[in-house]
């Protein structure tokens, strides 16, 4: 069982984003997550760190993957998990976001895992509740547990983060993953190159700590240790931000030929779900360099660590 002394060293009540976390905070979560990953791999009995605690999944935007990952993480720690189907319930009946939060707060859960389609929506809710709030993705703002699982996957495979060059390619403008992961990587000393056509590249990425923002994928791949592809929303593909899928694949799809431009044995990552043949070639997604399924595995471990640290505290 991981050391629980760490609990009190994490100086935040919520996990709303990577922004505001120190490298020490991030490393604390990564170390704990790594312990949990090992526990799971060795098929040990679930740790009961959250026995008797109640974790509520409040997903205003559907996400089977992330919600399941949080649910499994909480259950492994012995918590009781309630999935509130908000997309289909009170919100539909016209209840405001704040009212939903106040109502839930009155039920005294120990942690709220929230996904919301509006940037800042999770933070707004966090102000109205007494328990720990974990951001499971807010609009195009942050997705901190995704960032943590990304850096943990890299750390496990490369042994370090400092000095690595990570290329993140795709719809940077609308990606909460790109923001959070860039913040986490740069906090830990990695260099980040963001790649997107200009229509999908926001201005001011240097404020996230990115080393480079470019439209030239091939050039950015040179010397890369990690290549992370982002999911493209298909509705953006149809002539509005991009001409077509095939043109996107031609210039920004990760193919075997392109991957050769990166360092030998560079890691291939993707937060999923993938559009095979649009942002990534199937052979690469399933290839030796891909750590995409390990990302999913680390997702649970990271969420265990986060829930442990935030919900495991004595109320």
């Amino acid at each position: 069982m991981p050391a629980t002394d760490d609990l009190h060293e994490f100086p935040h009540r919520h996990l709303l984003g990577i922004d505001g976390l120190s490298s020490k905070d991030i490393n604390l979560l990564l170390d704990l997550a790594e312990d949990y990953a090992d526990i799971t791999r060795k098929a040990k009995r679930p740790d009961a760190a959250l026995a008797g605690k109640v974790v509520v999944n409040l997903f205003f935007e559907n996400s089977t993957r992330t919600q399941s990952s949080f649910e499994i993480a909480a259950k492994r720690l012995g918590a009781d998990v309630i999935n509130m189907p908000v997309a289909a319930s009170s919100v539909k009946k016209g209840e405001t976001l704040i009212d939903t939060a106040v109502t839930l707060n009155a039920m005294r859960p120990d942690a709220l895992v929230i996904r919301h389609s509006a940037s800042g929506g999770v933070k707004l809710l966090s102000r109205k509740v007494d328990c720990a709030v974990i951001n499971a993705g807010d609009g195009t703002h942050e997705h901190p547990t995704q960032a943590l699982l990304d850096v943990l996957t890299i750390r496990r495979n490369m042994g370090k983060l400092k000095g690595l060059t990570v290329v993140i390619c795709g719809d940077i403008a609308h990606s909460r993953v790109a923001r959070s992961t860039t913040l986490a990587l740069t906090a830990l000393g990695a260099k980040v190159r963001l790649v997107a056509p200009k229509t999908l590249m926001p201005k001011g990425t240097e404020s996230w700590g990115a080393d480079q923002a470019t439209g030239d994928f091939d050039a950015a791949l040179e010397g890369a240790d990690v290549v992370m592809m982002l999911r493209l929303q298909l509705e953006r593909m149809d002539g509005a931000y991009l001409p077509s899928r095939r043109e996107y694949f031609r210039f920004y799809g990760l193919t075997a030929d392109r991957l050769c431009l990166a360092k030998e044995n560079a890691l291939v990552m993707h937060p999923g779900p993938m559009n095979r043949g649009i942002e990534i070639e199937s052979a690469i997604a399933d290839g030796d360099q891909s750590v995409i399924t390990e990302q999913v595995e680390m997702g649970v471990a990271v969420r265990e660590a986060v829930l442990h640290v935030l919900a495991g505290r004595a109320s």
Binding site: P197, K198, T199, G215, D238, G239, A240, Y241, L242, P243, S244, R246, E247, R250, F251
Partner: protein
Amino acid sequence: MTPTLIRGARILDPANDRDEVGDILITDGVIEGVASDIRAPAGTNTIDATGLCLAPGLIDLRVKTGEPGEEQRETIATASAAAVAGGITTMAIMPDTNPVIDDVALVEFIARRGAAQGKNRICPIGALTRGLAGDAMAELGLMREAGALYFSNGENSIANAGTMKRILTYAASVDATVAVRPLDGALAGSGVMNAGALAAKMGLSGVGHDAEIIAGQRDILLAENAGATLLLDQVSTPELLSDIEAAKDRGANIRCTVAAHHLFFGEADVGDYLTYCKVSPPFRSERARLALLDAVTRGAVCAVVSAHDPQPPEEKRLPFEEASFGAAGLETLLPAMVTLSHEGHFDLLQAIRLLTSGPADLFSLPQGRLTVGAPADLALFDPNKVWECDRDALISRSTNSPFDGRTLRGQVTHTMVAGEWVYKRA
């Protein structure tokens, strides 16, 4: 290939600031030497061009044909034959055909037809938006790789500023040049000629300068912010030209073309409801025309185009308001510019610059210059030949020329593409 030596011509090579009598030697399709006196190697074809001007072949950035879809107007073959009679050795073909050239396969089709049927070099222009509908952007990157020279939305601006902004932004990432006809559709309305006293007198609805200026200014601002290369196509108002000059001075990649007929004609030429003078943008006032010429003289314009737009009689033999827009222009491009030069608006070298190295440099083309090693694309013309334009004598399939009946100076006698003579005047 037998070498060719052209002797004694007045060599006009604006790219190298050369205007002097000399010889030029062509071997294997490229320019081998340019000098005051070249000794012909054995077996050379020698041509005495004394009294003629020798210029790089003309590059016309705006040519419409009817192929595919409306071959009764013009085919690539007929346009090409007319072009070489006008000294045009490279021409860019507009995408507003049926179907619209908005796809890689269609770009390749135009290039293939051009190579098979054309006497000169033919560069496809890709559609900026699918079907030229002004909505969804077309595959700019893939079409560029397939050989599209630049991208145009045909005769229409993109009405939606948000769409235009995204297209310019995307074009900048694939290094594509975006060309637009600056024309605010709402302001242009159903106007058929220049707005003003004459239109009012004739009872015709007019298109004011504002329709061009507002659309142009908007796109300059959007392109500048996006870091895109914008080519404003067929500018007809001196006001917008000033804005373009100011943008250029700020370092923005804003360029423009002017159609030769806008330098030559004014609204008064519409005269007795002459539909061959119905073009868009319309011929402007004499004051605007002179201001436009002045801007050309001071270097505000990168290229002069023919804006060749073949319209058969059934489209033109109609009441003025019902007749289609457009003028044939391939065969009168050079003579119009030579005539204006004789009138003293600019010197001959500058006229040639706007037709050769000016357009070439917009797209870093190797032709358009008489530099050793450059493709041997040449036009020989008699700068003093006075002739009357007779539309029935034009080679173009449609002969809707506003120059019909006009006296012009300067006539092409020979045209060479890649070292081969493709036209000799009978």
